[in-house]
Symmetry: D2
Subunit: 288 residues, 4 copies
């Protein structure tokens, strides 16, 4: 996670010849030296995707200046694009329920500087004492218990908080309440959930118990963007572990914790580093 | 794969105290030395499962003698059990369709002595020349092309062949025709299929294309016993490989070949070595 | 991790026929019902190893009573053995240096009840404020800074602490000081270290930098019992992750943290659950 | 493995600003459309590495024409570079000894079109009947038995064969004779060996037996370019599998076969697809 004022450009558009040449020339012309260029042509959809990291040849580049310099080229290709300072922290809201292994893991990684994020709020439908062993440093904690009756009201509070704190990314770190279609849609591409199964297997409730009943030999976890279609959003990362007939459903739950936390952390990191581009139901994840 | 006339006992029954003591005493009393004992108590179903390898303390034991000596003890626990000479080759029928990577792999492993089986027949719905590059040694090849019209008739031939050759195990090595409910039922516990997905994800046709469309980040394969419920039989073995957005559906097919062949080979080996016991929808697979 | 007063017997001796029969009969005779029996005959060394979990058929068994009942049988085979109440917490001392990812992980797992241990002390050669973000609950922290001059003196304090607290297991959770031969010998079989490489590759200092220089495509970590021979003790657990040419040595360090913490946690858990038996330079690790 | 007359450019040089821009402009100017561009800046050595796949915007491009058009740009950066038609088969010589699992696997993959190579010769220090079960199609087989006395002479024959057949790549598919320093040097960057251990662990002879003695919990295999420094060449690919105390050295040998063949096949495929660039002791392997 370098923070030497490199800039990260992500961009996608309908593919045609000459995009890389134009992009890299534009970077060169504004005094940039490309450190890393990754691109992907999706033959199926005819889309071009790219992530370019560059820095000033002679001293740091100003992001706004760079944006202005790049805009005409980007417009020429009708690109959807974004330029950010590398390592600049995104504003993140973490949500959890009773189980806090993902929350604890994300906080630890944040504390040691592994995740370039500014945690603006922690939200839970369980009270603060649920996490008695976790230090939240000075991050505000919001207790938003959810019942059938108050669900809409609590979600309004959540939406207001997201707006007030200008949240860039919401992470559902084993938050067990389903967001409304409306909020899911509003957070499209900036809300990551960890599902405790190897999707598309075992959607819905109690996936480890489903996995136990079905007798699978591997269990997994899936980090995906939240969409209004439950457990169906674009997948960012998945991983698995081997189990055996000796494992009860409870032991799957325990072993699953390790998978969930590393899958979610990788997905969040990839997102924070601008490595993920959404391509319909799928994602491009440019490797570290 | 030792063939020093050790005996392998597999057994299961309703669990109660004293089974291991009685079993191991019976083995000791008949002059046996236990080389390997594995057992599993399924707390959920209250069943006891065991696999015991033993040899004669003073010279090889005769299997029939051992069976007679063990029978009273086994009867006392109402055990379902089987005793075989370790390494004794089972009579196997291999079935394939157009793609022969699993067939080729099983034959290679058989040739170098990795799989204790006696391949009695190879059956395909494609003609012999489909496998022009494969040496079948002196294994008879049976061409049974299947159409809507002749499906029942061809399956009768297959069933007759299984009977005539006293087949112990049928391996569907990417055989792409669905067996009838009746034949599936008749082969219960002695017919292994390789499904080219990480079940229960992507059941049915073209699983790699389904996986591509869904945008998963890992693909897998599943070896399972065939039941009359398609893609739903007890799972013996699964494995996965990591893929990326760069992989087209065709590349998933290619990468999947490596997963399929190793998953199927492991499952077949476990079965041939009497390591697999069926427990309803699940399996116990005692480790090597 | 059941704590229903089951008992766990671990035992090893020179192998001969009849051990399992005698063991299981002895358990049955004292009113025990075997829940899990695992054994291993090492053909190379002629040793027999076993782990047996059992509970009373009619109510909890008293450990001392069971020990007295089993002793004659165990003596008959000249067994080295141990009997413990399953889930009984061992007294553990954790040691760390500057990097606290393993320490944080072990503490988290302890807090949520994943590791049956009673952490009696945390010892570091760095001061308490190094771990400002970690809650140690009410575990005493001991700051024992080490220099060439005071090394022996500090180790005496450590040894005294181990004795005073009746420590069963010392865990070197990325503790970067080498223990003396004498202390290593005294802690034989009850001191686990995590080495941040896939041993025997990259022994010694800065293994990730060695790995980077060598250009390996996988990095790993190794949990092993400490012996007087540095980085050479019996291995309990190892794991790896895939890396690429894009990873700098610093990124290997980051990725390695995830491997280290899970490898160490698994090894500690296996030890605490009496699953590990030492067999010369090797270990038997009976699976969960 | 597309063969639609796309061209693959691989190139490396001392890094400086503007290379990607110049490269991609040159491709565009000659009428090329970039399908895939991967690049890597090695911060440690200050080298730039790249692999670019492109095709003609309006019909196939001629490779020679493209080379002439690119040459001035490449010269301007003092690039070492190569341009090939994608999917064009390299001329390959396969070498094996007694164990043929890697040989059989490479031949199978070649037969089904998975590896873009033209196998010009198979060389062994064992006679043809060693591979009785393998079909070599019409590939000439050369029996070159090696003894202390004739080693130099046989290697001369090998070198002559390599020259006569204009071999692009020599694959040591478990060939157990050490090549001379001279031949190794002459084949620098075009001779791939599979070593049956997770290098740098267990160099030299009988690595599985070393691994067994050391009690590791994972075994591996390593594909690397051959250099005059035995087992020390740049690593292309590695993989591992989990083992347990139950595995004897012989079982490690068996399990290792599966690892070796897939690691070697991946490395060979990467080389054949121009994905591997050598960077001192390390390799860049641009992902598929």
């Amino acid at each position: 996670m370098t923070t030497d004022a490199s800039l990260v450009l992500t961009a996608y558009c309908t593919n045609r010849a000459g995009i890389v040449a134009a992009l890299s020339k534009a970077v060169f012309d504004l005094g940039g030296d490309i450190l890393d260029l990754q691109q992907f042509d999706d033959a199926g959809t005819g889309q071009f995707f790219s992530r370019v990291v560059f820095r000033g040849v002679s001293g740091p580049l100003d992001a706004d200046t760079a944006r202005r310099a790049l805009a005409p080229v980007m417009d020429g290709f009708a690109m959807t694009w974004s330029l950010r300072v590398q390592g600049e922290r995104r504003r993140v809201l973490l949500m959890a329920s009773k189980f806090d292994h993902c929350l604890a893991d994300l906080l630890y990684r944040w504390q040691i500087g592994e995740l370039p994020m500014d945690v603006r709020a922690i939200v839970s439908n369980h009270p603060r004492e649920t996490y008695a062993n976790l230090s939240f440093a000075d991050i505000p904690f919001h207790y938003l218990p959810v019942s059938k009756e108050n669900k809409a009201e609590q979600e309004d509070k959540l939406a207001a908080l997201i707006e007030a704190e200008q949240i860039d990314l919401v992470v559902l770190a084993r938050y067990m309440q389903v967001l409304s279609h409306e909020l899911s849609a509003r957070l499209a591409g900036r809300c990551i959930n960890i599902h405790h199964s190897f999707l598309p297997g075992f959607k819905g409730a109690k996936p480890y118990h489903q996995a136990y009943e079905r007798g699978v030999k591997l269990i997994g976890a899936t980090a995906h963007y939240v969409t209004s279609d439950l457990d169906e959003g674009p997948i960012i990362e998945q991983d698995i572990e081997r189990i055996s007939h000796r494992d009860s459903a409870d032991e799957l739950v325990r072993k699953g914790r390790d998978i969930e936390r590393r899958v979610l952390a990788r997905a969040v990191r990839s997102h924070l580093e601008d490595r993920v581009l959404i391509n319909g139901m799928r994602t491009i994840v440019f490797p570290e």
